[in-house]
């Protein structure tokens, strides 16, 4: 029973991290109708900035705040220099251009930081495991990821549902020509939305950095998961991204945790332990396929266009 609690926390933590990545992607994809494959590169840049600034300032919190600001600025600059010229173009052109950006960022990182990768060490107060209920202790840092991601989710909800900017974002998701016609500076709005998406990706990257290593191409594997999440959740929907990310995180983690034991009931032990990792990594794609069959728009689609 306690194992289930702990594994669910693992799943929740992974899911929330994916939410940060998917939220930014769904903002850009759903509202600006822009396919940004370089979203994973922004995630990588967030991690590299954090490792660099934490080393420079010798302070974990200060370094992370600086990194967050740097990713936001990078996102805005990227939108201003390159991406705004692509809004009117075909999705295929956007895919090609942003795929080029992935290669550009990977090589830029190789030039600036070298091929070996960096590490982002945690301060001592985050490395201790915390006892949550008797018999279950959980890494403090993973708990802090859960806390930060939940806070960001709440903040995003408030901004999108309760503010004027949020209203414009929602309106942009349903009908972009109309809000332009109403005299809203849509260029500025898009720049802001893209910057916000970049900052969210950077936040996901820098929070993941102490758990994984900071390395070239780290955003590419996880980007696929982010796309799966926004497809399941419904493109352009923050609420959909939130729920789908938690689904995916849970299914992935619980699958990895319990599938081998389940398979062992039917198969020989060695066959089960070989088949289980392969099967569990397929589960989320299976889920996506089922969702696409039942609800092609995703589980919680944004308002109809």
């Amino acid at each position: 029973m306690l194992v289930l609690v702990e594994q669910s926390l693992n799943g929740l933590q992974f899911g929330l991290l994916l939410f940060l990545l998917a939220a930014g992607l769904t903002l850009v994809f759903g509202i600006m109708d822009f396919v940004n494959l370089a979203h994973g590169s922004l995630y990588m840049m967030g991690a590299y900035f954090a490792a660099t600034f934490v080393a420079w300032t010798n302070s974990f919190v200060l370094g992370i705040l600086l990194a967050l600001g740097a990713t936001l600025l990078l996102g805005i600059a990227l939108e201003f220099i390159a991406l705004r010229h692509l809004y009117g173009r075909d999705h295929l052109d956007q895919v090609l251009a942003t795929f080029g950006l992935i290669l550009f960022f990977n090589d830029a990182v190789r030039l600036i930081w070298g091929p070996a990768g960096l590490s982002l060490p945690l301060p001592a107060w985050l490395t201790v495991p915390v006892q949550i209920v008797p018999g279950v202790s959980y890494p403090a840092y993973r708990l802090s990821i859960i806390a930060v991601a939940l806070a960001v989710a709440a903040l995003l909800y408030l901004v999108v549902m309760r503010t004027r900017v949020g209203m414009l974002i929602r309106a942009g998701a349903s009908n972009r020509e109309m809000i332009g016609a109403l005299g809203i500076n849509i260029k500025l709005l898009f720049t802001l939305v893209f910057g916000l998406g970049a900052a969210l990706a950077g936040l996901a990257g820098l929070m993941q950095a102490p758990i994984l290593t900071v390395q070239i191409g780290m955003g590419e594997n996880i980007l696929i998961l982010a796309f799966v999440i926004i497809v399941i959740g419904g493109i352009g929907s923050i609420r959909g991204a939130f729920l789908a990310a938690i689904f995916v995180g849970m299914i992935d983690t619980l699958g990895r945790a319990f599938l081998p034991d389940l398979l062992r009931m039917a198969l020989s032990s060695s066959a089960a332990s070989t088949a289980a990792p392969a099967l569990s990594s397929m589960l989320i794609y299976l889920l996506m396929a089922i969702v696409l069959v039942v609800r092609p728009e995703g589980l919680f689609p944004a308002a109809k266009r």
Partner: protein, 390 residues
Amino acid sequence: MKKAFWLAGAAVLALAQPASAGDTIKIGFVSTFSGPTAVIGNDMRNSFELALDHMGRKMGGKPVEVIYEDDGQKPDVGKQKTEKLIQSDKVDFIAGYIWSNVLLASLKTAVDSKTFLISANAGPSQLAGELCSPYVFSTSWQNDQTPQAMGQYMNQKGVKSVFLIGPNYAAGKDMLAGLKSTFKGQVVGEEYTVWPSQLDFSAELTKAKNSKAESIFVFYPGAAGVQFLNQYAQAGLKAQMPLYTAFTVDELSLPLQKENAIGIPGAQQWVNDLPNAENKKFVEDYRKKYPGLRPTYYGAQSYDAAQLINSAVVAVKGDTAKKDEMKAEMEKANFKSVRGAFRYGKNHIPIQNFYLQDVVKDADGQLSLKTVATIVKDDQDRFADKCPMK
């Protein structure tokens, strides 16, 4: 008239010469030069280049040309690159291969074309057993051997039970099987993770913690090893469940693993401080040629691969068409290895010592690996009997 006849004759002969007996010795080198594990490929290339420098970039009097190809850590790409090197570049030797699954995919192409293949790292059990070939040599080990040595060390320490975690591919399975074959205590659980994409080990670490095993054994090469140690320390397991490893802590991952690696024992057939002249020269010259970098066991094995090829080419005075003679020479392992002496078993896998290594601070104040003890002497892999070669 006579002169023209001889000239024509010489020209025909020259054309008829097999491509492999040209004026240069051509070596293909397949390794990973892109993606997160490119640092391993770079180290292998650096060491191979250093070996060529030490030979004056000539073998048996002929200049050496090396063609490096990137497998991207993917079996299908590795196979393509191997085919390209053998069929269009017509290399005399092919070397490299970090990953067991890439080597297994590429093996048939090399063997069918009778091109000598020197594995400088990967040692899948199939290669040592039923798939052994007169054209394939290893300058590393068979995958099971290193964890087998670790298992013996755990027996010496009186470890009663262990939880195993490893990646779900050819080498991961060999490694865990190797440990199980020598470890005398109880194996409480065994988990495989998706390779190479899975980087979060929270589910596996939680299972290990709840299994109440006394210790954990893992095999995670490259960056995955850094991530595993991070997460192991963050979960607070370092004080509760001692970790034993194979190929997880090395000179490439140490700068990122830092304090996490201290106190974590590993087994290895080569450590940077092995006391022989050849090794001293290798380590010193490597650090001179590539400032800021340190050689690893991957590099040491590549250095030996270049030396093994050199020994064969020298024995036939550069005439690489004499394959039987080259094979006979390589079987003698007639060169000074940086790991000290070793000899080949009938399956062309080295029979060698395995050492216990520990992490210490060296003279520069940097973390470095140190040989603590010899765990096994003259170890032969356990698949040699399955190899049909004599």
